[in-house]
Amino acid sequence: MIYLDSAATTLQKPRAVAEAMSTATGTMASPGRGGHRPARLAAETAWACREAIARLFNFDRPENVAFTMNATHALNIALGSLVTPGGRVVVSGWEHNAVVRALHALGAELDVVPGALFDSDAALEGFRERLRGAECCVCTHVSNVFGFVLPVYEIAALCREYGVPFVLDASQSAGALPLDAAGLGADFIAMPGHKGLLGPQGTGVLLCSAPVRPLLFGGTGSESRSRAMPAFLPDRLEAGTHNIPGIAGLLAGVNYVNRLGPANIARRERALMRALALELKKLPGLEVFLSDGEEAQAGVLSVRHERAGSEELGEALGRLGVCVRAGLHCAPLAHESAGTIETGTVRLSLSPFNSPAELRRVPGLMRRAISGALAGA
């Protein structure tokens, strides 16, 4: 099997992730729910994870690292804290439904920045034109469909200039690209634990630098006599029992990423992805969405065939043991921006565990998959 669906979930993890989860399941209880050893171990693990995440993202307040179920959960908290019905929210044209649907549910007016794929200057100019008077700005760091790296530091600086709160969706970049929270200065940074951070499913993180409104209400193990949620983080956002096995696994994943270094991970994934893309470009009828400049694209690559449908091609690749994702990738806005809304694309996305040798096999398998999809096999 060649696993190329890491933009959805990284399947291969460091061995320490499963070991940590198993240990946690057998030895750890609930942080803040007791003074006994299993509760203490759980509390120490949660704190160690907050510190490791803060270190990875140069975020100076580990207590403001809130655990969530996933990036969607984190984004819903962030947007629910900032957006009011009818408020105008400026978003990139590359946002995932985790942003678009949450804003729709909040009754926000979406102001979508237009611009061509991999055109950072156009994106930046579009944000500049729209930010004045906006209630909030949301931007993905990396498009989950095309790997387009948005100029988020410059967009964040514009937000500060116009006094607009900024939310970064780091779903595709966390762990896969360097991300400097202090340098960025966003109000919120949302991310999953199960993609580039190499943790398990069911984990996510919200880095909070602005007042938050909870989505869930309940016990926190603090200020129990008060009927209101605590005003302080992370308790304000962490009602109910923590996913301690998940957090223990996430800690192991983050430690691995901290050791490798996101810059090294990004360099390797980009090199592998570009080598693969150049080979795929040689296949007749296959359109490969590859940026001209290396910096404009992370380790995510979309392709589509002029005659074979994307879903059929994805299925055919799956039968050959190549795991990809096909269709709209929960990001119809991105496909509208790129002009691929009617066809969708087949996405190949990398992780630190992909080897050059397995990627060299992909063009040949893609050729066979195209033939299979066209034959209806």
């Binding site: 942080p31 803040g32 007791g34 003074g35 203490r40 509390a43 120490e44 949660a46 704190w47 907050r50 510190e51 580990p62 207590e63 926190t220 193990g221 603090s222 200020e223 129990s224 006599r225 008060s226 605590p230 302080f232 983080l233 992370p234 308790d235």
Partner: protein
Amino acid sequence: MQRYLIMCRSLTYAQRAASALERAGVTAAVSRAPQQLTANGCGYCLRVNENRFHAALGVLERGGIPHGRLYRAEADGRYVEVAR
């Protein structure tokens, strides 16, 4: 040796404080606060030995790490509030 309690508003703040103290070479144990000291229920504290109490407060102050009231644990089980 007498023990001092540094009250913290949450487990995570207590952990943050303990982490800063550890980096400064001051040993402090995170624990649940005595019931009688937590007016709002479920509080946390750091327990520090007498000879490191003032050093601990200095570390927290320099690090901008907030803490709550301060107590000395008496041999008879009472807690006496102390000033900085």
